[in-house]
């Protein structure tokens, strides 16, 4: 059915060969399915708004004077000028939350980027080569996995010290296990498939088999896992900062805002709690919804054959 509709489209609209190629690929197929999903489109829009907010904050377009406050403005209630009031140092809470977005997104992106690279590489090597390579890598990740992350990550940040870069590293090097395990299993499954056998028969090297043949058939799983890791990394940063192990207190972070708010609730001052919670809620909810939709659209079993 898809083939005939494509055929008529090709006849009606003269396009270049590369265009036709793209339109029929499985990636394009998945994108079409994703586009049809209204929840996915809406949550993608929300994620884009967050990204714009973060970029605006980083480029100094939004609330450039985030760190400036005066003791005379301490704990102002909400007003049109300060929608979430001001904190103990008289800084605008909304500005802190906006700049916290940049912190959160950078932790999500860089940490899950690190774990993507580690997990994909080790998983591919373990699954493809098997034998002692597999043994070593499995030993490595079961060892890391056997330590509760709530102990491991604080331990690492104790060693590395507080700071944003150390949070990237600590979260990145501890969160690749799930992806690695997944990719390892997929490689074990795919390396004996006929299409890989066919590549062997035509004389393809290991590198070609891994990168040209197997990897494109498992990257969709890495995508989904990257999205899940992104959300998890954001949450871990918040927890670490709340515990006083994450970013430096001067860095705007939702975790630090929550940490501050635990003493402020008795005043009562709810600005920090409300701002951090609302910002986190929106980002994590839309990310999770988008991930679900992404997984559905990439699942070959749900494809209309």
């Amino acid at each position: 059915m898809a083939a005939t509709s494509n055929a008529t489209m090709t006849a009606a609209v003269p396009t270049t060969a590369s265009h036709a190629k793209m339109r029929n690929s499985l990636w394009w197929d998945a994108f079409r399915r994703l586009k049809k999903n209204k929840v996915a489109v809406a949550s993608f829009f929300v994620i884009c708004v967050y990204v714009l907010i973060a970029l605006g904050a980083k480029l100094g377009l939004l609330f450039p004077d985030v760190a400036i406050g005066s003791p005379s403005m301490q704990y102002l209630p909400w007003s049109w000028e300060h929608p979430f009031g001001t904190d103990v140092l008289g800084r605008d809470v909304l500005a802190r939350a906006v700049h916290g977005t940049a912190t959160a997104l950078s932790v999500g992106l860089i940490s899950s980027g690190i774990s993507l690279v580690i997990g994909l590489t080790l998983g591919a090597l373990a699954g493809y080569y098997g034998k002692w390579v597999d043994g070593l890598i499995v030993w490595l990740y079961t060892t890391i996995d056997s330590i509760p992350y709530i102990l491991l990550i604080p331990a690492l940040t104790f060693v590395l010290g507080r700071g944003l870069i150390n949070v990237y590293i600590a979260v990145g090097v501890t969160s690749w296990v799930t992806l690695c395990r997944l990719i390892r299993g997929e490689f074990m499954k795919h390396k004996d498939r006929d299409y890989v056998m066919a590549a062997k028969v035509i004389g393809a090297s290991d590198v070609r088999k891994i990168f040209r043949h197997i990897l494109p058939n498992v990257t969709h799983l890495a995508f989904v896992q990257f999205g899940l890791g992104f959300v998890a990394a954001i949450k871990i940063e918040v927890i670490l900062s709340y515990l006083g192990l994450g970013v430096d207190p001067s860095t705007p972070s939702w975790g630090i805002m929550l940490d501050d708010s635990k003493l402020e609730l008795s005043r009562p001052f709810w600005g920090n709690l409300a701002a951090a919670t609302i910002f986190m809620f929106g980002l994590i909810l839309s990310f999770n919804l988008f991930n679900d939709a992404l997984r559905d659209s990439l699942d070959p079993k749900l494809k209309n054959k």
């Binding site: 190629k21 299409y195 028969v201 004389g203 494109p216």
Partner: protein
Amino acid sequence: MQTTPNEKSFELPPLKVPDPNAFIQVNELTKEFPIKGGLFSRQIASVKAVQGVSLTIKKGETLGLVGESGCGKSTLGRCIIRLIEPTSGQIFIDGQDVTKKQGEDLRALRRKMQIIFQDPYASLNPRMTVGSIISEPLEIHNLFDSKKDRQDRVKQLVELVGLRPEAVNRYPHEFSGGQRQRIGIARALAVDPSFIVCDEPVSALDVSIQAQVINLLMDLQQRLGLTYLFIAHDLKVVEHISNRVAVMYLGKVVEMAEAEELYRHPSHPYSRALLSAIPVPDPRRKDQRIILTGDVPSPIRPPSGCHFHPRCPDMIEECKTTCPSLRETRPAHHTACIRA
């Protein structure tokens, strides 16, 4: 030949010089898959998939290989082209020892031998276009200098197997089973091989499509002078396409002869049972099927003596101890049965 693993390690393989008349020569090929288990993953047993098979195929000939599922016919075919590493034995293709080749030499030799897979859905990478699937072997072997020449060759191959030239920009999931099998054939032909293992190439296709693919394979053989090892369990298809036929049972060739000779005068009891199972399109003809009792024994612990003796209707006491080897029972007709 029937030895325990301990004795085997002291046994040197018989070194035979390649037969000048044979294009493909297989000597005493054995493949055992180890089964690991226990505390330290020791080898506790092995699946003896192929046990000392010897055969030859002449240039331009089709050797049919039949047998039931799990008898080792696919393993044998895959060992011959080094898709699976054989445990022992020799394989010559055009006088060159396939088993001794490594690295770059092996890659160069791969141009001569190709395979067509059974499942046309699993054997094509779903993320690659048909064009890149077919041109990949050309890239690997650096067969054409310019991209233009390579594209021309791909177009030529696509037309050779009877697909429309637009197919090169499409993805495998846009094609039917028969068309996909044609893509697989084009990929195998890309490097201009002389020997092709057809590993049940039509078993996964509709009957109406089977004939088309079989005819394509026969046509290509004539035009390109190909040599085929045709693996199948459909006896009628094998009879149609093969010059000679070998029957396998539990890792061994039990009978080998010209196709017509074997189908008219099967002399191994297993071949007779197999052939009697072919349905005849004649309702008045009385069915005289030989029903074999029991299942195929496990290739982990094959029976003593003749592997077929537990199920053989003509079994005598000697069959339990004597392991029959292939001998000429009729002119150019080899059978591994002491009673034939």
